[in-house]
């Protein structure tokens, strides 16, 4: 309990953009063969520092096989919600779920990020017992607690009962229980986010654990059995109010990115692959007259490639699908960054007109067939994956691992962890920074990045940027 709101809490996205830039990039490390415990790397992101773009601290977990994926802060700007009246918490703890183990680590980053340490461990049994869910994934700091989406239901393989969202106390980290009161037709889960003053949530669908834990199941993909729907929820009533099917061929609707400015009632979602033509797509969803709508607003075509350039999984297709596995929206809602993990490209779309995304910038790095090296000459294995944008929108960071078993299928030569950064031009355009290339210890892959003081996929705001 503090006397003043945390100085990294901002009333509006505009104030968040004006705040001092990030000094550290927290990055999750996973051991894909479970030989070593997973870890949190603290990377120096302060230009001019002697340890710039290097790991300055590592928190190694006491268990193996957790499979770190996404993570988030215990509290953020949503604490300034005028409805909650509870702004006196700190952005201090990182909540790291083990996607495979269902164990949750709470990491204390104060007083100094370079001395971050484990504060608490929530064992899987507690999650199972109190929620009936498993495989915790996305973390969002809500005004009334920490919201955690899960990919699995109960039972050993996570298929008895649907997955959903549960809530944790943001100070004691006690698992409070399920969030949903009426889930409607929702049976799959992946990402979720919300518009707090407009009081709605949007969630997306990936797959059930048997469809991803041992690798992608090609038969399930080709028979369109992965997720392809968006669910819209009344946030405080905890009720599914509308479900939009993007069409069964639009397999794997993943990251949901609502506009940061709460007056804007729209957002985006990325679809990994269209099974009719291997295309990836960006969809815009919006609310009008109380109804939600969604339409495909950008497509990215597959790139033809010779059989010997392709992994066995793709050889029958003679092409590399772009595989849009992550998207992220800049704080001013102007640029949408799109990771094409298959073709090895980071795209920047100008989404000033949200239903007419315009390609504004692009860099190539890695890729199944292209294998573009980093400007420093170093090899960047796999392709751009988890992407994070600085609050001021001037720097875009990304890593290269998707998920242990899927990495091996698409990039059988291995995916040594790497993290790079690109500078954003004043009016768009992207250029890789040759002096930012983070190498990780042998045997580790890198997944999501979180910036100290918040980033473009953490904070949600209750006041508009006027």
């Amino acid at each position: 309990m503090t006397m003043r709101p945390d100085p990294t809490f901002h009333a509006s996205p505009k104030l968040a953009m004006e705040a001092p830039p990030e000094d550290f990039a927290y990055t999750l490390l996973l051991s894909p063969d479970f030989a070593k415990p997973d870890a949190l790397a603290v990377i120096d992101a302060k230009p001019g520092s002697p340890t710039y773009s290097r790991i300055v601290h590592t928190v190694t977990m006491p268990n193996k096989g957790d499979e770190f994926h996404h993570f988030g802060w215990n509290a953020c700007s949503s604490a300034l919600s005028p409805l909650a009246g509870h702004a006196f918490i700190e952005r201090r703890y990182l909540i790291i779920p083990g996607l495979r183990s269902s164990r949750i680590y709470i990491i204390d980053t104060k007083p100094d990020p370079t001395k971050a340490r484990i504060h608490k461990i929530i064992e899987p049994e507690e999650v199972f017992k109190k929620t009936g869910y498993s495989r915790p994934h996305t973390i969002h700091c809500g005004p009334d607690g920490i919201y955690v989406s899960t990919l699995g239901g109960g039972g050993k393989d996570g298929t008895s009962g649907p997955p959903g969202i549960f809530v944790m106390d943001c100070e004691t980290f006690e698992v409070l229980g399920r969030w949903e009161i009426d889930r409607g037709p929702q049976t799959l889960h992946y990402d979720f986010w919300w518009n707090l003053p407009r009081d709605y949530m949007v969630s997306s669908e990936w797959a059930l654990p048997p469809q991803f834990e041992n690798g992608i199941v090609p038969e399930d993909l080709l028979s369109n059995k992965y997720g392809h729907r968006l669910h819209f929820w009344d946030l405080r009533a905890r009720r599914n109010v509308q479900t939009i099917d993007l069409g069964a061929n639009h397999q794997m609707a993943l990251e949901v990115r609502p506009a940061h400015d709460p007056v804007r009632e729209y957002g985006f979602v990325g679809v990994v692959v269209d099974t009719t033509n291997l295309e990836a797509s960006i969809w815009t969803w919006w609310r009008k007259g109380g109804q939600f709508h969604a339409e495909k607003t950008a497509t990215i075509p597959p790139e033809p490639a010779a059989k010997e350039q392709l992994p066995p999984l793709l050889q029958g297709f003679g092409a590399v699908p772009p595989l849009v596995t992550d998207i992220d929206l800049s704080m001013d809602d102007r640029f949408l960054y799109v990771s094409c993990w298959g073709t090895g490209e980071m795209r920047q779309y100008d989404v000033s007109d949200p239903r007419q995304p315009k390609l504004a910038g692009s860099v190539h790095i890695g890729g199944i067939a292209r294998r573009t090296p980093h400007p420093s000459g170093k090899t960047f294995a796999a392709g751009p994956q988890m992407v994070e944008i600085s609050r001021d929108g001037k720097r875009v960071y990304w890593t290269n691992s998707l998920y242990s078993t899927w990495d091996d299928q698409f990039y059988p030569d291995g995916v040594p962890g790497a993290e790079v950064m690109a500078n954003v031009g004043h009016n768009g355009g992207l250029e890789l920074a040759s002096d930012y290339f983070v190498s990780f210890p042998d045997g580790y892959r890198a997944h999501q990045i979180r910036l100290d003081g918040g980033d473009c996929s953490t904070d949600s705001f209750c006041y508009p940027s006027v």
Binding site: M3, S12, L83, V263, P464
Partner: protein
């Protein structure tokens, strides 16, 4: 009714202080962000209209007014029993002190409040005023005013006393809410129009302990005055 407080006797001065305490409590609740002025700012900015800001203030006032009146109501009815006035006053003081101590010990905010949607500001304001003891804080002041008024009016019939006490409850709730909406409204307007959103996080102090202490203070002062008289 105000004229009752303006004669120069000792009881008159007590009345003046009670009315001032009532207005001060309104101003205090008004500037406390926990009672809702940032919601009025948010509404004004979200709708890009000062009218929305005023509308939100109206809803917040209505909720606070109703909460205050409903909390005063049982005391208004009980206070008719002349010979029980002193125990009622003592009991009310102890209740306010007790609630203050409870707020001091248990700082957790009631989670049920988080379920109220942003479209129901009046309900939110009502629930917050009840849950945080905002309305309770006025009970000792109200009882003091009733007592002074009753003394002045002499021993009237129970029926007219009930009427008088209820009238006083309405008046107390209204005066309090007018002071509150004046303070909160000014702040909301200043932030909306001139100070900007930075003021929201900069001005927000943790009042939890101060709030709890205020409850204890009001109860204690009422208790002390009761014993002194």
């Amino acid at each position: 009714m105000l004229s009752v407080g303006l004669d120069a006797s000792g009881a008159g001065w007590t009345l003046v202080w009670l009315w001032l305490a009532l207005i001060a409590s309104g101003l205090y609740h008004g500037v406390n962000p926990g009672m809702g002025w940032p919601l009025a700012v948010s509404a004004g900015l979200m709708e890009r209209s000062p009218r929305a800001l005023l509308g939100a203030l109206g809803a917040l006032s209505a909720g606070h007014l109703l909460a205050t009146f409903l909390v005063l109501l049982p005391f208004a009815l009980l206070f008719v029993l002349a010979e029980w006035q002193r125990p009622i006053q003592l009991g009310a003081s102890l209740l306010v002190i007790g609630f203050g101590v409870y707020r001091l010990v248990d700082r957790r905010h009631p989670r049920a409040l988080a379920r109220i949607p942003p479209t129901q500001l009046a309900l939110w304001s009502f629930a917050v005023a009840v849950a945080h003891g905002a309305a309770l804080m006025l009970v000792p002041i109200y009882l003091g005013l009733c007592q002074a008024f009753d003394l002045d009016a002499g021993h009237a019939a129970a029926g007219s006393l009930i009427k008088a006490n209820l009238g006083m409850a309405v008046l107390v709730a209204m005066v309090h809410v007018v002071a509150m909406v004046a303070a909160g409204g000014c702040l909301a307007w200043l932030v909306y129009r001139y100070l900007g959103l930075k003021f929201v996080s900069r001005s927000w102090f943790n009042l939890d302990a101060v709030w709890a202490a205020s409850l204890i203070l009001v109860g204690a002062v009422a208790l002390a005055l009761n014993f002194a008289s």
